[in-house]
Symmetry: D2
Subunit: 346 residues, 4 copies
């Protein structure tokens, strides 16, 4: 059987991770080419992975006939244009989150894929972490009864580089908390109806110049009555700490632990262990599973597991949270979705 | 040196715990008598503890000259009257929380103690748990830098009996979350300025008749900018789960674990252990430490560690949370304190 | 119903713990008197616990008609004589381990109790720890199938004071590892048939003068084929670490954890928590349960749960381990029991 | 720079793991070919990894000029012959443990590599696990003071297939405990001088026909006085449990944890989580690090990190343990090394 030809756009840490995974850990797929505006970096990655082709743009990449699907790991602000270019060339698309930075943008991306009849999947990789995947399965199987309380915390050891903020990607609720919002919808099997957020720039004074928060606390009300809370924090100092809990009427599920390695030190100062440093470590397996699932959906011609609609809904919650924090009031998620749709229609 | 004479009012589980502790684990104090409207129960406890005197009312108890201090562990709705009776008799007072059910009531209790020049301490026992006490000490010592995020969760295995609700004691934020509110003030060394609450009767339909919540989620904004969230849930089913976290600019502290015993079972089904069942187990040491501290404050004539003002402030936050949940809006804590004070002044 | 009168001999930390427990936490018993050669210390404890009588010797204590049972917590080398004195006076006896320091001595103690028709229980308190008790119950219920491997580790934070060694109580296998040997017999429901021990004075050079080990490692062969290993170490520096494991053909049970409090510190240096410091902390509940069980056996006139025979068997294993370490060979436990019995018979 | 050409012999699970790692995760190396007597399996793996060459024998593999190094992951009983073939062809060699099944065999392998001036590394992958590697580094840095006690446990969820035993590879101490023996030498920075072993066929009656143990418990005495114990068990049923501890005069290090995923289930039955299933999961990262280190040693022309001498010494300990168990006596490791050497010299 011929393998599925895959091109990877963007050869930063994220793109390299995807390229390596396609290269040797997805037998049904063949890594055809990588591309990056930093063409030298693209060439180096191609050499490391012993593939022949590297390019400076998505346009060159999608010109290739033997590329069936594209993995987009470029900076966020280019996602929408990249998706449109790939769709126009008839390539299936896996795009890192955020699919776009506005509801309108997401609608355009969805529409581009729809028109081109290509599959479009968005990178909410946590859904592919074995622990999260198992949690979802158990909830669907009714093991915890009715989900009642949702809680999710995402803390980075330290904030992204200032360049990330300069490029406009650093809005806390849109860039980081959006993972918690996606988990909320997915694990609760319900939509978030209303939010309330407090937030502040409490730990990283260097973010004040960008008007960005480093800490946010969002209360959630789900449409069937369940409640929840999610937190994002940019600078825990102790490590990358992802923790999610779904309390049900019969049992409770937790996903989260902190260890990087299996080493424990016991001394007169107590017992201690290290902490996971970074999302690429914590979610390495999830990234691989995600890619496999996407490529298998392409091969089977089935719907992707995480759709543009999922991206749209998570963004609407994030926008509502941002508005709540700014206006110090509760905000209905429908306000955001509608507001934007109206604007989009106008 | 003569020992401090102590009388205990109320011989339910809580009162028995206090009486046993006075009896043999606070050398400076002597258990003189116990009292309960169920005089037979009082008599039994006296026999168990080999003391001579048991009474049917606080009035009889405080008539005794050799009673210097009274521990009030009667039902909540009698607290205010009991405090007033003890103060009128010139006895020092330790009163279980809530000191009273309204801001006015608390003001009256404080005033009664002030006039009688007796010491009044309120039972926020968590402050005396070795883990919480150590956390507070470390925060004061600057070990975590500036406190930025506060989080606390309190879950019971199952709700209190319906009789508790029938007696009007079961308001979630006032009865249960109030412990989290007290911790918030104490550990953050700051006042809660504003709250937002979602809540529902999601797990215990039998509470609907009382109009009481079984789940509440409260966002907090502290006066110096820090943010937080507290949760209460009446029916975890898995156990009594108390978890508190203070995230600081330099480090983070957590208090919480779930084990009841040191046993772990490893089988084909995985690794499992049991869970603490009840607050009397989790906080046994805290109750003893609390009593010792109260009695030593009496002996030294020093201020109590947890004052009527602390009770007043925690209640104001709880009332604000209740209003926020009812009205679906953020509420300033000062609204509650003032509203009530105004009413009280009128 | 009249309460059982109890006298406590020895008012060190251990004796005080027993006295406090009798005083207020065993309703069926009444603390009548305490005794200690340090009569001033005995008087202070009596005052703290508000009881009238304190004595300087066991002879005075057992003279009292209202003393039905005696708790012996004197130094180890007096245990045998104290047991004989109590038995001669017809008092039921709870004696801290070791019951005696030789097989002969234990046989004499057993014989004294037998002749006096009094109940004799020995203080292997770990059996009363809720985790160990639950483990035993589950093993008896067949939950783990056939026990195959036994493992137990006992580490002190630091060695006992030198005075303990000067008094001859410090033999590692007889004083410390004996707890592991008792657990081995009790949890495996089998006898230890053969042992092999390595040991050394590796951490505490000050013990060399006494010829005592600070570290021992003992391989066990049980009579039905199971195998095991136990370790004792006098100076872990990090805390009091007790860990036991029974591997069965169907499942495995572990008893052990290290935390003193529920506090966790998370910082750039990692995640850390404190460690239990001392056996009185780790086994506080076990000491209370043990006393209750002993006193209830007396009240019911039933056999004690931990007998002189148990003490004898554990000592035989300890002596075999000591011989193995000295002679660098495997030793049959029956050698020790017999050797001593022969000697005793001669 | 030209990449190092690598051939992999054996395409079972272990060989596939190595081949995938060479393929895309070691940029300095290029996977040239794979070989297996099951040539169809070799062809499938080549197709999955998009490489051109697959062979039926090591002879064909080492004939290729562009193969600089060979990774041997064939069945154990072929290791020695494979090493000799690769050495004869002048290829650098990474060989899975055991290098050979006798001291003589190991000496022949070492000699073959020495004569051919090729680098020979043996697969004790645990040394490359981040936790073990960090432990070793800290011990070398003096962080725990003098190592005093060593303890290591290796338990499989279930025994290898019967075919493994039929092929003669299943000797417990030589196949499984040998990992603990290697860790003992490496982490204690000392040699094991004397051993005592108990063992039995306690859980897997199907092994009786092969005369093989399923449980072994080995006491260790190190040449500088430290003591230790290692355990192997073939059928824990709960999972793959690897646990190692080094107790030092100043602090203690532990390597070990059981979780497979980050999911925790909390219900009325308690708190539970899953368990690592298999060594390929637990040591996935170690296998990659090991391969990288080997290939970089080849590129640098430096000594390998784990030598034939290491394999020889671990085997001598394993043989001594086997003899101790058979003869029920302590055995000096030097007996084995010498006995065999003598035999080898004759």
């Amino acid at each position: 059987m011929a393998k599925l030809g895959v091109g990877v756009l963007g050869v930063g840490r994220m793109g390299r991770c995807h390229a390596e995974n396609v290269r040797s850990r997805v037998p049904e797929a063949k890594l055809v080419a990588v591309a990056d505006v930093d063409v030298e970096a693209a060439r180096r990655l191609a050499a490391d992975l012993e593939i022949e082709h590297s390019y400076a743009s998505i346009e060159e990449l999608v010109e290739r006939k033997d590329v069936d699907a594209v993995v987009i790991a470029s900076p966020s602000r280019f996602h929408l244009a990249n998706v449109q270019a790939a769709a126009a060339a008839g390539k299936h698309i896996f795009c890192e989150k955020p699919l776009a930075l506005t509801i309108d943008g997401i609608d355009e991306a969805i529409e581009a894929a729809r028109r081109a009849k290509v599959l479009l999947q968005v990178g909410f990789m946590r859904r592919y972490d074995p622990a999260y995947a198992e949690a979802c399965k158990r909830i669907e199987a009714g093991e915890i009864g009715t989900p009642i309380i949702f809680r999710s915390i995402g803390r980075d050891r330290q904030p992204p580089p200032l360049s990330f903020y300069q490029s406009g990607s650093g809005a806390l609720f849109l860039d980081s908390t959006i993972h918690e919002f996606d988990l909320a919808r997915w694990l609760m099997h319900d939509e978030v109806a209303e939010v309330h957020a407090f937030g502040g720039t409490l730990a990283c004074p260097e973010l004040v110049q960008f008007g960005e928060l480093d800490a946010g606390m969002v209360n959630l009300r789900f449409s069937h009555g369940a409640i929840g809370n999610v937190e994002s924090f940019r600078q825990s100092r102790y490590g990358y700490d992802i923790y999610t809990e779904v309390v049900g009427s019969k049992a409770t599920l937790r996903v989260g632990y902190l260890r990087q390695t299996a080493l424990t030190v016991l001394s007169g100062e107590g017992v201690s262990h290290d902490v996971v440093d970074h999302f690429l470590m914590r979610f390495a397996e999830a990234y691989l599973n995600q890619l496999r699932d996407f490529l298998r959906s392409v091969l089977r011609g089935s719907e992707p597991s995480v759709t543009g609609e999922d991206a749209r809904q998570a963004l609407a919650i994030a926008l509502a949270a941002a508005r709540s924090q700014r206006d110090s009031r509760t905000v209905l998620v429908a306000e955001e979705a509608r507001a934007d749709t109206v604007h989009s229609a106008s």
